[in-house]
Symmetry: C2
């Protein structure tokens, strides 16, 4: 690993985040919440952190495959650390671990919170909280569509061919091109949703914050009552639509934009399966709610059901209805949706629709092979044949998923947390959903958990968000055996001089 | 599929079971519970059922690969049906579905019960209940070591080389040889355990019934208080030892007997991993119980912990301690053990130690491949290289496992069962454990569930016990497309005559 080159990139990202730390200042001025100096301080601290990394380590051109893992994990870790400062400095969250948890929950677009009442945060800090989601979502799209396929992580190599942008050999230019194209879509969606929500009566501030949280499938709201605060059918349907869009592979959005056609969606098998799951789950829950007479009006039943289904499968975690009152079969469906998650290349978390799809395609192939032993079957996704390596990579993904789930559940319950709270808090963070059940249920929060448990759950958010493999690779001793001592900038300069003199 | 030949085998098995239906009669005479006529009637009915199948369908020599699936599933189904008659006719279980559930729970060595109080059954019927476990256990050993490897089901082909007995090409003789050898071990263990328990003060009846339930990792007891009834440390340690042995691949026992050496155990990687899990889980739970001062005496802590750990991992389901009082981290461990299950080729249920072992070996290999992309790694089990096909077969196993789990949970909760009861009752039956949590917890039973839910759970027991694939194959339309109209015995006779005349 080229430690110096990796740290140089982290430095650049910290500088970029320092710029973003200035964006809440206009809101602070408008709402007069007195946070201007605080955000300036955070930005200066970030600039110093990033600047010193840049000063110490020179960029290295030939960053390779292995460095990718370190860049990805250290970026999220670094951004979460710097991003936690406003929570800590504004005075509303006195524990640094709590601030870090909230920040990690933002950047991983999880949406779990340690806050009992969201309203205690100043407006500008609430805006920062939404911004961490939005930036995290941006990162995820690029990560899953441009970086992970190159690293061959967890079956994502399947999407190598699907990336927009010119194909080049070197890592960095390709990622930059892909990122630029995808971000145009992301920004466009954000603007459209903001405008649509303002038309529904939201303030610019609330609309922007909710658009940030929706497109990132994060789930942080500016109100403790979450999206249910407005009691507006129009607003809820707008949020449903954009959650649904955020759960789709962003390269499909780009191609649909570019071709001005819906064909790219309809031709994509993962998208079709995603819509089928949403449709079937919605119909099933609506019927179950009708059978138990939960709602008197069909319209309310449909709207609340659709909202919960989409909020769960995209792992956004916004709430409008208290589904604890719904019949138990609906909870089995909602919990299953949490595990499915969004499409690959979306901002949604979870296992991903495509992995679930391939999983069951393989089971079907296996059954066919048992019945016709001489038949040679192959798995296809769309028109593409899926190589065995991808399947094995997905098998490995499940193994690591279960391993992390088990280890984290053990650690959290060993700290005295009860069984349901402990296990669902791990599920909620590992799948980047937000709320769990019992003590961390939709109307409760993660604040009362032991501090050490919050650290474990922060790790779960990171591991889940970065598709497990990335974090797991960094935890193997083998990886660190290959790490080189970082080359300081002056050493590199000396070397270059030496080379020039020769 | 050669339907006639398959039904002929089922007929033979029913005749065999009719003989076993006579074995409770001596107990009925001894305890004077008035069940002699009832068991005679059941035996006669069974003889008639089996006899008519034999009369209608002639044996067919060239049964193949595909017929194996039908034989396996229909055997268990047929035996469970015939075996439910004593419960129904004795008058203690007035619902036939309840009787069938109890019988299926016996033959699949699950141990879930619909009985509120076990003692309401006459002694001879209690003996029959234990006998269904014992016969089911016998069936499982042969199924997993002789039949499934030939069918290539769920990675079991790995054990093809491990089977004792001469290797022949035709299916039937090979299975018979293997069965004979393994059953000697099974019967020997049963006798030894019975004698050891009688030495500890149990009556012959109780000792035999508990030996039956232990060796089959079933869990039916002759008392509602289960193995805790005797409050005897000696008896509990005897049960621990034999549960542990029942969770081991029986071909290892055979080889250890034959070689008069412990080497076959120590050289087996699955066995070592099994012992490591039991050891680590026991130490962890003992420490957690100490930290929470659950027990005043270390000896009681160790004994209860060891008992629960072994009862869970082997999916026996006997209870001695109310572990609901234990700290929550111990429950995470115990629930995880339920999923692991026994070794392949044992009578234990669950996913099986070897699958879990290979699962994590593959995850490690995947991580290594990500770090060193050019390295060519292979998975080894012992000294044997594990082919990719086996891994993919295991992936398929997990997919079907999750599919069945999800579908069954949906059905059971849709019938109005609450979430925790519904999901844990599926886990308890699919893994062939016995008790679940909440309404079906260790001190409760399955009796109050809706009748339709009991049918679904009976299916789960069957599917789990037969390694899922077997049942899943029979549920595919493809399989039935290949089924031929059964050839009646007289048609076959006519054909033979025709051939002779030519």
């Amino acid at each position: 690993m080229r430690t110096g080159g990796v740290l140089n990139i982290i430095g650049k990202l910290l500088l970029l985040l320092s710029l973003f730390l200035l964006t809440p200042i206009p809101f602070s001025l408008y709402y007069q919440d007195g946070m201007v100096k605080m955000f300036l301080l955070c930005s200066v601290l970030g600039t110093m952190m990033g600047g010193s990394l840049l000063a110490l380590f020179a960029p290295e051109d030939d960053l390779g495959y292995r460095d990718g893992f370190a860049v990805v994990v250290l970026s999220w870790l670094g951004l979460a650390l710097l991003g936690s400062l406003p929570y800590f400095f504004c005075g509303a969250i006195p524990s640094f671990i709590d601030a870090f948890f909230e920040s990690m929950s933002g950047f991983t677009t999880t949406g779990s919170t340690i806050l009992n009442e969201v309203e205690i945060l100043p407006q500008s800090v609430l805006f920062w909280r939404a911004t961490t989601h939005w930036l995290g979502g941006m990162g995820i799209i690029v990560l899953s569509l441009a970086i992970l396929p190159l690293l061959g992580v967890g079956g994502m190599q399947l999407f190598q061919a699907e990336m927009p942008g010119p194909t080049k050999d070197r890592l960095a230019p390709r990622i930059q091109d892909t990122a630029r194209i995808l971000w145009v879509v992301y920004v466009a969606f954000t603007l459209i949703q903001t405008v649509l929500m303002m038309l529904g009566g939201m303030t610019f501030f609330d609309a922007l914050c909710h658009a940030f949280a929706t497109l990132a499938t994060g789930g942080f709201s500016t109100h403790t009552a979450s999206a249910g605060y407005w009691q507006s059918g129009y607003l809820e349907y707008v949020i449903i639509l954009f959650m649904l869009l955020a759960g789709v592979n962003f390269s499909l959005h780009y191609r649909a934009f570019a071709q001005r056609s819906l064909k790219p969606y309809l031709q994509n098998e993962e998208f079709r399966f995603y819509m089928i799951i949403v449709g079937v789950a919605t119909v099933a829950i609506v019927i179950a709610n009708m059978a138990h007479a939960v709602y008197s009006a069909f319209g309310n039943n449909l709207r609340d059901t659709l909202f919960q289904v989409v909020s769960m499968i995209t792992t956004t975690g916004f709430g409008t209805a208290d589904f604890d009152q719904w019949p138990s079969v609906t909870k089995v469906i909602l919990v299953s949706l949490m595990f499915v998650g969004g499409c690959a290349g979306s901002t949604g978390g979870g296992i991903k629709v495509v992995r679930v799809l391939l999983f069951f395609k393989y089971a079907r192939l296996q059954l066919r092979t048992l019945i016709h032993p001489r038949s040679v079957g192959a798995i296809k996704l769309g028109n593409q044949k899926v190589p065995k390596e991808v399947m094995i990579s997905i098998l490995g993904f499940f193994a690591i998923y279960i391993g992390v789930f088990f280890a984290a559940s053990l650690l959290v319950t060993a700290m005295g947390v009860d069984l349901v709270t402990g296990m669902t808090s791990v599920i909620a963070t590992l799948n980047n959903i937000g709320p769990g059940l019992a003590e961390v249920g939709p109307s409760r929060n993660f604040g009362d958990l032991p501090q050490a448990a919050k650290v474990v759950l922060s790790f779960c958010m990171l591991a889940g968000r970065l598709e497990l493999y990335t974090v797991a690779v960094l935890l193997t001793p083998d990886f660190w055996k290959m790490a080189r001592r970082p080359v300081w900038r002056w050493e590199l300069a000396q070397k270059r001089e030496g080379r020039l003199q020769k």
